[in-house]
Amino acid sequence: MVDAVSMVFPDGTKALDKVTLAIKPGEFVSLIGPSGCGKSTLLRIAAGLESHTSGDVWVDRDSLGYTFQDATLLPWRKVLANVELLMELRGFDPAERRRIALEQIELVGLSGFENHYPRRLSGGMKMRASLARSLALNPAVFLFDEPFGALDEITRERLNDELIALYTVQKFTGLFVTHSIPEAVYLSTKVVVMSKRPGRIVASFDIAFPEPRSPELRYSSGFAEMCGEISLALRNAMEG
């Protein structure tokens, strides 16, 4: 998917150094690394929002979902119109997009809030609306840039479970950037650790817990052990 990609910004900032990352269809990979190591940059390159300076990228950009660090809802549109936005831009027929939007709103548990403006929603609800908006296009590949980073722990765990439920239904391939190790382990089939800038992949862990994951997993000793190992790798990455 991404092969030996390097990225140097015009101002000389070297953000990525020969990153190679292949994600197979159906995999859910989490990317974890020190702040400022180039994780967002990698996602932006994968999505075509930024051009890389060397290397190769293969992504199916037509069926791409993307969530940003903040929910990025249009504040002047109500929830329903926000969820319809991407379909509108893709030229879906109005009745069709209304139907899909209502379906997705129900799926993320926002029924009853269709006519609320974003500023009246909590952080978690905004993120749900944002997820619904992306899911409405039924993406085959879904890129997440620290979507739950700004939420409190309780909301985050709830949304993790909801994301797993959505993933089970819609079967997208995921690349998930996070700075929470438990979140990465809980969600993913694979966790990849990046070094500090310029970002390189320094470690990769297969997470073999059975799917679909359930909340009990969080309290198992295997889970804690896995988190510990990744924590150590991340620490080495910060120093080296």
Binding site: G48, L49, Q69, D70, T72, L74, P75, W76, L86, R119
Partner: protein
């Protein structure tokens, strides 16, 4: 030596039960009493200043009953005031009808093409720095004394804040919202209409409010230079002076300020209607 625990000055905070919502009359009083009292003070100051004037100069400040008997109670003066206000208002609105679309177009062009921003912006600032009354004689020589030059003067008065606030608003559109549109390969007209304008609208309206207030001022200033054509409030001011009808002059002054405030309030109200539900500046 073990530290002894520091002495604390504990204070008791009293609970503050939710006060009952004040009744309508109380709220009205709270809203209206301060400006009313201030108004009474102003009137007293006016009367006091007048009484300090030498008698032969007291005509400069008509009495309240004079204002009533010689202006506001006379149907023909009222009719004149009304017609003048309509004329002034139509000049002001026609001026806005020119400056708003052209200003917005310019704002969009400057936003879309950085070169155009570099090319145009300095001249906008230069235009803003010209004292507009100073070019009115030139406009008269070029365009005569009809409706059009007055409208152009209003357009000049009100122009500056429109392209500048729109440009500022368009530039402040959330970066990730733009990325969101780019991910769907939306073209720039789509982005402009679906993201740019709605997002810039509150900023633009702040500019429109300023322009709206200036429009009435511009219309009156323009009339001071033109004593022909259907008379507006500005013309009435000058004629009243020539005829020594100071009561009518004050009446025209009052109506001008009411007009200016109304146009400002109209745009404020419109802005509130449009944005209060979603914008942070909106009502509670």
């Amino acid at each position: 030596m073990a530290k002894s625990p520091r002495k604390l000055a504990v204070e008791r905070y009293l609970a503050k039960p939710l006060a009952a919502r004040p009744g309508l009359s109380q709220r009205l009083a709270a809203a209206l009493l301060p400006p009313l009292l201030m108004g009474v003070l102003v009137v007293i100051a006016y009367i006091w200043t007048r009484s300090g004037l030498e008698t032969h100069r007291q005509f400069l400040m008509p009495t309240l009953e004079g204002l009533w008997t010689r202006a506001f109670s006379k149907p023909e003066v009222l009719g004149q005031l009304f017609n003048a206000a309509v004329t002034t208002l139509s000049i002001a609105l026609a001026g806005l009808a020119i400056s708003i679309p052209i200003g917005m177009l310019l704002g969009v062009v400057m936003f879309r093409f950085r070169v155009m921003e570099r090319a145009i912006f300095p001249y906008l600032v230069a235009l803003q720095s010209i004292p507009i009354p100073a070019i009115i004689p030139l406009l008269q020589s070029a365009l005569g004394f009809g409706f059009l030059p007055k409208v152009l003067i209003v357009a000049l008065f009100t122009f500056f804040s429109i392209p500048t606030t729109l440009l500022l608003g368009l530039k402040s559109v959330d970066r990730s919202i733009i990325d969101l549109f780019r991910l769907q390969k939306a073209g720039w007209p789509t982005m402009l209409i679906k993201a740019g304008f709605p997002s810039a609208a509150p900023t633009l309206f702040a500019g429109l409010r300023i322009s709206a207030g200036l429009a009435v001022i511009g219309a009156i200033v323009s009339e001071l230079f033109f004593l022909s054509g259907p008379g507006g409030l500005g013309q009435m001011l000058i004629n009243a002076k020539i005829d020594f009808k100071y009561e009518q002059m004050y009446a025209a002054l009052l109506v001008s300020s009411v007009l200016s405030i109304s146009v400002y309030l109209l745009f404020s109200w419109l802005g509130n209607r449009l944005f209060s539900e979603w914008h942070e500046s909106g009502g509670r």
